[in-house]
Every structure is written in C-alpha cells, then in structure tokens.
Amino acid sequence: MNRENNDHATLAGRFNENEQRVSWHDETLWWVRAKRDKAAHTLPEWEQLRAAASQIKSNVLSNLSEYLVQFEGRALQNGVAVHWAADAKEHNQIVADLLTARGVDRIVKSKSMLTEECHLNEYLQSRGIEVVDTDLGERIVQLAGEPPSHIVLPCIHKKKEEIGELFHQHLGTPAGNADPQLLTRAARKDLREKFLTRRAAITGVNFAVAESGEFVVCTNEGNADMGAHLADLHIACMGIEKIIPQRKHLSVFLRLLARSATGQPITTYSSHYKKPRKGKEIHIVLVDNGRSVQLGRADFRNSLKCIRCGACMNTCPVYRRSGGHSYHTAIAGPIGSILAPNLDMHKYADLPFASTLCGSCTNVCPVKIDIHDQLYKWRQVLVREGHTTTVKKMAMQGMTFTLSNPRVYRFAGKAGRWLMNKMPYMVNNKWNTWYKQREMPEPPEQSFSEWYKKNRER
C-alpha cells in the first residue's frame, strides 16, 4: 500500500506467476494443517486446553512486570546472568559485546524468531562474528541468502531440488541428488563439526518460568542442545512476553505447541535450562522491542500471547497462496500482520489488508488470539493514522456518499446496470481488475427494489 511496488499484493502477485508452485505450496501447508487437526482431535479436552492457555497468558499480561522481576531474581540465584534490551539495537549490542569480550568470533545459533526480528545475524557479521544457523531449515535459507518464510518451517517455500543444488554447491553433495535423507545426513555431518568447534551458542526461548527462573527451548532436531551443551557460553534471547507464572503451566503449553505446529504430540526435545554447567555461562537477554507499546494497545495486546506455533500460517488461505516472503517481515502470516504494524505502521500498513478476514487463524490459535478481529481493528487504526492512499480515500468517500443516500444509490445502481448492459466494454476491460480472470455478474433489467415497487407495493 505505502510500499509502492513491494507491498504484499505485488509480492503475492509475483509469487502467483507460477501457478503450479502456488498449488504445491498450498497443498504442503494444508497437509500440516490437516496433521494439526488430527492431533487436536486426539484430545477431547482440546478446547478447554486452549482456553486455559489463553487465560494463563492473560494473567501474564496483567502481571508482566512482577513476573519479569521474579524471573530475574530466580535466574540470578541460579547463576544465570540477565540483561535487558529496550530495542533490537540494544539486544544486538549486548550479544555482540558478550561474544567479543570472550574473544569469540564464530558461533552457532538455533532457531529464534526474536533474533530474526532484530536482524542479529547481519549485525554480528558486521562486527566480524560468523553465525551458523543450525536448524536445518534455517541453515538452508542461510546458505541461499534468504530470510525464513515460515516461523516453524523456514524453507517451506523451497523445493528439494533447489536444496539439493544448494547443498551440492556448499556441502559437496552429489549433483542432482535431492533425496531429503541424504541431504539431511550431509547437514548433520557438516553441522556436527560446527557444534564441536564453536565456543558460544545462541538459542531462543519458548517459555520462561517466573517461579523457578528456568527457561524451556523446544526443538525436534536437537540443535539447540547440541549447541548449548558443547559451548562455554550460552546466550538465550527472549521477548519479555515469553514469561509464564509457574512450572506446572508448562504442561498446558507443551501439550498445545507441537500439536498446533506440526501435529506431533510434543517436540522431540523440550529442554529446561535452569543453571549453567559448572564453570560455564548462561546469559539471558530480555528484549522489549515494542512489546511494552503493544501491551498498552488494548485492542492488540492479546497478540503478545503468541507462542509461535505457526498454526495460523498453515491454515491461512492467503499465506498458503502468497508465500512467507510476501509479508516482508520476520514473522509472516496472520500473526505477523498484527505484530508488524506495532513496530512500524508505515512500513507494514499493507499487511492487515492481506487477509479476507475468514477467521480460520483465530480458530486454530492455541492461545485464542482474536487474530482476524485484530486485523480488522488494525485497518481502522492505519487509515485513521493516515497510512492509506488518496485514491482509496476518495473511492471510500464516494462510496459512502452513494450508500448513505438512498436516491443517489438507486440512481447509481440503475446507471451502472444500464452501462453494463448497453456498453459492456466500458466495464469489461483491462482497467477492471475483477474482469482480468473473472466474468462480471450479468446485470438484470431491474433491481429488487424496482421489482418490489412494481409487484408488491401496489
């Protein structure tokens, strides 16, 4: 919208130039949605679990400052260092300073959407620190020089043949071989060497427990653990909203997370980090980066409940057919579209409009975020704040005038139908976006109100 040729509609249009690929992308993600449905249906108490998760998160939002202080105190007692970063820049500096102070210039990093949001990799590289992403999907997009297109399935937009070619170039796998088993083995071998030689590891955080000071990291691959347990320094980066009150609340979230994300009953590894290994260090960086602002927006604060499962993306009919990169932000899809405008309304004014408001996202969300209602509300805010185009504004004002005046409306309707009947070429032409791939409705001789007047009012 305000990004001229790089808004969601344009990028999605480009994605749709290859229809077969769009169908493939759609089917692949729909399959993940179907797995989620199957997993959810194994638990008759599923809806109660969602309600409980949502309520726990409401409690967190009400007590966030207290829980953060409690968490910090416990973590310090546990021998874990705690840092506070107001924004992405401060976060990146804290991480880089920790590394350079220890003379570390090569690190491994497991998946963390927060570090994507903060563009940590680019920053560390600018300070001479090499970052190897160790989640397979993230490693693939890193080798391709692209950002992830999905928060759980980072390279879901890539075909295995493309990955085979990438691995052939970078890891020396046989040319033309696109066997997922072989490619995964090659990555395992390559990354083992990285795990064994890097002295520092960065991980994200899925949940941090206020009462115990521990934090939980979930992976299927085991890459977070391989990194953290072999390194001298483990830096865990987390958004402040990841706090939960008590350890027992993990049960609710761990039951929901993987089932919602991939349809697994739980991720392979749910690692609870409480204290550093003897003689080693754990540092936690607590990052705000706009979250406290979002907390102050009553209509949008529930977006902070998000546990990053990606279910809203998998179910979103628009995401499935436009690809993650069309959202031009670290977190794509419906949830990304309600998070991003908080960070920059101008830059992300197009995203809340990249939806039909179908509401499927809200229904799959394990913490019951009212995603589609928030998309609607963001639209109002963005227009009110002036993030719209003059053309659209004029069109809306014209429409308002017509629809608020019954006589103008009847005249316009009649004139429009007359035009469509008598001069169809005035409507069915290349300037009519509807007509590009769809026929216009056939205009009837008379409207219903005209019929009613003739047939019923006498």
């Binding site: 057919r321 609607y376 009110r384």
Partner: protein, 244 residues
C-alpha cells in the same frame, strides 16, 4: 411476527431473483415480510477497508429503515454479521442494540427461530455447500473444521429436507473462497487463485451446483466458473428452498 427483509446492495442490484426467492421462502414459512424501501447497504465495504468512521450515514439509515420489526432477516451471512458486530449509533443506541440482537441470516432464522423441520422443495441435483466465512465463523451457522466440537450445519439441515438433492463431500469443508470484499481486487492474484481452488474442490467431487448463503462468495466463484466456460452454476440456498 413481522420480519423486515434486509437485501444487501449487491443482491438488490445484481441478484434480485435471490431477494425475491428469500421473500417468498419467508412467506411460505408463514411470516409477514416487509421490505423497507429506503435501504442501501450495511456499510461493510467501508468498515472492512479501514473506514469504519465513514459508516455513520449507513448506520443511521439502517436504523431508520429497520426499527420497529420483530426480526430482520437477510440472505447474506456476511452483511448480517457486520450489522450484528458493528451497528452503533450514539443517538439511537437502544434501537441499534435491538437490531443487533434480532438480525438473522436466512438459514439460521429458518432453523433457530422458525424451527423448520420439514420443507417442501425439490432439487434433483448434486450440490456442494459453500460456507461463507462470516456466516460460518462469525454467525456459526455450521461447525468450524478447526474446532474439536460436535459437527452441525444449519444450511445442510435445510438442504437435506429438499427432495432429490444430494450434498457432495468436499476435501476442504470450509476453506475461504477468496472474495473478501475489496480483497478481491486489491489482492487479485491470491483472490482468484483461492477462488479457482475452491471451485475445483466442488468440481472434482461432482457438484452440479455450488450452493451457499452468501452471494458475494458465489458471485466471485460464478465469475471464475463462467470464465472457465464451466457448466456448473452457483445458487443461493433461498433459490433452492423456493424451487419445486
């Protein structure tokens, strides 16, 4: 019982036969129906585009037209939901509240208020049901596939009363068709692809008609079907209930 017929603007202008069918179905069901003549639009096109602040005129007009009836019934889940969720007027909030609580989409009115258990109509064809998202996930006229909950369908229940009609099962029972109001032109590429995929689901399961409670979705799918020169047609559920 007096019911006010709320005919959304695009039905009034492009699909008058759907409004006529709705009127006749309601009359057959034994209710007195009035069509307030000065009605235009619920204001949803502006609101969904971020211009809810411009809907004041539409809201005032709606309240003026639809105050004083027992129920307000519309052959559109989407427009009904908009009224239910967004009709407000500081000066006539009591009236607005009454309307919000008494506006019904046709099928929910027939099943919930009139409690129709039998219906005399015939339509010897295979049909696929298209659930408009606002009717489905907003008004909850049928169970949503995402939830772990008992299945039901109000349009399905009514269609099952129609002689000769066979409902075909779909691969994706309630995926959005991609119309989405201004989305259909603002995001033309995705909108069309969604529509084509939705239509294909019906076609591959042998539907002769795509039947729904929202003409906006059906207009979009009809545009795609006709561009493909398909023989398959769309029909509003009112047309089927009104047929013999």
């Amino acid at each position: 019982m007096t019911v006010a017929l709320f005919v959304p603007c695009y039905i009034d202008q492009f699909y008058p036969h759907v409004a006529i069918a709705t009127l006749q179905v309601l009359e057959k069901a034994g209710v007195k129906v009035v069509y307030p003549p000065k009605q235009t639009c619920c204001g949803q096109p502006m609101a969904n585009s971020g211009y809810a602040h411009l809907t004041k005129g539409c809201n005032e007009l709606f309240i003026e037209n639809f105050t004083g009836f027992d129920y307000i019934v519309s052959p559109s889940g989407s427009c009904t939901l908009h009224i239910k969720e967004h009709l407000h007027d500081a000066e006539n909030e009591k009236e607005a509240e009454y309307i919000r609580n008494h506006v019904y989409e046709l099928t929910e009115f027939l099943t919930d208020i009139l409690q129709i258990e039998q219906w005399d109509a015939a339509f010897p064809h295979k049909v696929g049901i298209h659930h408009g998202c606002h009717g489905l996930r907003g008004l909850k006229v049928a169970q949503m596939s995402e939830l772990v909950a008992e299945p039901f369908s109000k349009p399905g229940k009514l269609l099952n009363m129609v002689k000769g009609l066979e409902i075909v099962a779909l691969s994706r029972t309630d995926e959005c068709c991609g119309f989405g109001g201004t989305f259909c032109v603002a995001e033309e590429a995705v909108s069309v692809k969604m529509g084509q995929d939705r239509v294909n689901d019906h076609l591959s399961h042998g539907a002769e008609y795509i039947v729904g409670g929202d003409i906006s979705c059906l207009m979009h799918m009809e545009g795609i079907l006709r561009r493909q020169n398909s023989k398959v047609r769309v029909k509003h559920i009112a047309e089927i209930l009104n047929g013999h």
